[in-house]
């Protein structure tokens, strides 16, 4: 194991700090040079970045196969939509509530299945994601509005008659949330919890033999991941002003899975690159019209051929990853 660093942020070298400042500056300046259309694309890039970061906790840090993450995203979005339209609770108040609702849901549904390994966990999470979507379509207790979803969600209010309602404001809202999440996640990666997660990913039996509470650490990952996905759902719902079940399909879970793997498991800059690929690629190739998804699929295959560890693998994990990726016969990844 490598030595324990007091803080991930302090250890960043000065040159890296300059690079990070440039990136942040570019993100802040971007909306002043782009049209509303491109600002909206960058907004969805932010949503996918947040979703990727949330799945990265479960899949990247702990190595749990979760193909139902859209379910948590949906719970967050619908919590916001229903509480806002029925009771008029402001969106920003609902932000932590949506996160809590998604986290609670994850805790309840994942507790009984957390002992499952590898692909069996994958299929159970997949089933849960589908159950959430089907339940939303079937309109239980007349709450979710069936296949049409819920309409008329407010814009986030800042008080005093100020609303976040333009593309630029939403852009800043999502990227501030993403930035704060990244700061939190970097701290988490270098904490006791982060190391316990990585230990479980590398060797669950050894971790549990060394006194790591495997079950609860796995649950914690699901709960935190779901909470972050719930936050993404909240912002998404207020941006679109409506939510419908077709935004939370199995396909959406697959995209999140790809974001994490294309970027590099457990790597935060990797997740940003993966999210950029997933959200920007279809837009850039829009001139190709019908053929763009063909190109997209081929690009995914090519990427895995030439960079199977992801585009920006996590440095500390470089040695650790070889043990997962080098053993194709292993069942639990």
């Amino acid at each position: 194991m490598e030595s324990i660093k007091p803080s991930g942020i302090k250890s960043i070298a000065t040159s890296q700090r300059a690079q990070i400042l440039i990136v942040i500056g570019a993100f802040m300046a971007y909306p002043f040079f782009a049209s509303d259309y491109f600002i909206d694309i960058a907004f969805f890039f932010g949503i996918y970045a947040l979703l990727g970061l949330s799945l990265n906790i479960v899949l990247g840090e702990v190595g749990l196969f979760d193909l139902g993450h859209a379910g948590f995203y949906a719970i967050g979005a619908y919590t916001t939509a229903i509480l806002n339209t029925k009771f008029g609770i402001p969106i920003l108040v609902l932000l932590p509530i949506s996160a809590l609702a998604a986290a609670l849901f994850a805790y309840i549904v994942c507790s009984p299945v957390i002992h499952l390994q590898g692909d069996y966990l994958l299929i159970v999470t997949l089933g849960m994601g589908e159950i959430v979507r089907l339940a939303l379509i079937n309109n239980p207790f007349d709450l979710t509005g069936g296949p049409n979803g819920v309409f008329g969600i407010d814009f986030p209010s800042l008080g005093g008659g100020l609303f976040i309602d333009s593309s630029i404001e939403f852009y800043y809202l999502i990227w501030i949330i993403v930035a704060l999440s990244i700061l939190g996640l970097i701290r988490l990666q270098n904490s006791r919890i982060g190391r316990a997660w990585n230990y479980i990913r590398e060797d669950e039996t050894a971790a549990s033999a060394n006194g790591v509470d495997v079950k609860n650490y796995k649950l914690l990952a699901f709960v935190l991941g779901a909470a972050l996905a719930g936050v993404a759902g909240n912002v998404y719902a207020s941006k679109l002003m409506c939510v419908s079940p077709e935004s939370f399909t199995f396909w959406e879970s697959c995209l999140m899975f790809c974001i994490v793997l294309i970027g590099g498991m457990g790597s935060i800059p990797g997740v940003l690159i993966g999210a950029a690929f997933i959200s920007l690629f279809p837009e850039i190739f829009r001139p190709f019209a019908m053929y763009r998804m063909l190109v997209f699929g081929s690009a995914m295959m090519l990427m895995m051929m030439f960079r199977p560890g992801g585009f920006w693998p996590r440095k500390r994990g470089a040695v650790e990853f070889r043990s997962i990726l080098g053993a194709p016969g292993r069942d639990d990844g």
Partner: protein, 303 residues
Amino acid sequence: MHVILEQLINGLTIGSFYALIALGYSMVYGVLKLINFAHGDFFTLGSYLGYTVLVFGSALITSHFGLWGGLIVAMTVAAVSLAAVGLIVERLAYRPVYPAGRLPAVVSALGASIFLQNTIMVIWGPRFQAYPSKLIPNVHLQLGDIHITLLQILILLMSFILMGSLYFIVQKTTFGAAIRATALDRDTASLMGININKVIFFVFTLGPALGAMTGIMVGMYYRQISFTMGWNYGLKAFTASVLGGIGNIPGAMLGGLILGVLEMLGAAYISAAWKDVFVFLILILVLIFRPTGILGEKLAEKV
């Protein structure tokens, strides 16, 4: 009483679709530990090829071979083409990624799936296509109170013949023993002189071919096909193969049939809208109490 029996027969019909598709997932998973997400699209592509042969080639073929001949030609064309497509996908999308491990292969499989789905959309267009209606004489059989259509009997008969022959190959022949050995432990099997490439060849030709034939049967049964239907059927079939014990070939057949019957009984007695929820709940419950599926005992996950 006759409602239950009719629903059972409907369930078995749909279940045999799931079972035949599930076999493709399960065989590939058994040998390569890879979830072949593109398999659902093999099924769709087979359905579209069959459609093309039946609609555009029907006049020519049926005049030479008759109605049944036309069907057989469609099935053969679809099966052979899909076997070839399966091999090409394996070569181009999976083989270069194997050495890197399982997760990159998942992304590659999803990429292959997007690619195939959009190829189908580009060729046949994004709208629904309808299978010709008078393929099979619309005859109802009356057994006591129970209605069965000729088509259902044909589908059941055909799927049981296909499953039976696959079961025979896998369980009774030497080559089948090699496949099962590979599924249990690939490295040891190759040390014992089993040609793994031959096994991979087998699963990547037979799986898609079975999927293609199922595609034609689904087209005849529902008469409507769309380029995205592979996702739904694939998801259900994958669920079925896990239910039966993934990697286990009799398990995939059993899982598919059980899933179809549960779905139909759920639709009849609980609620048609909630039937899929019911199916997934059963799946989750089975996995909680029997994490390796119904027949999956031998393939318990290594710690």
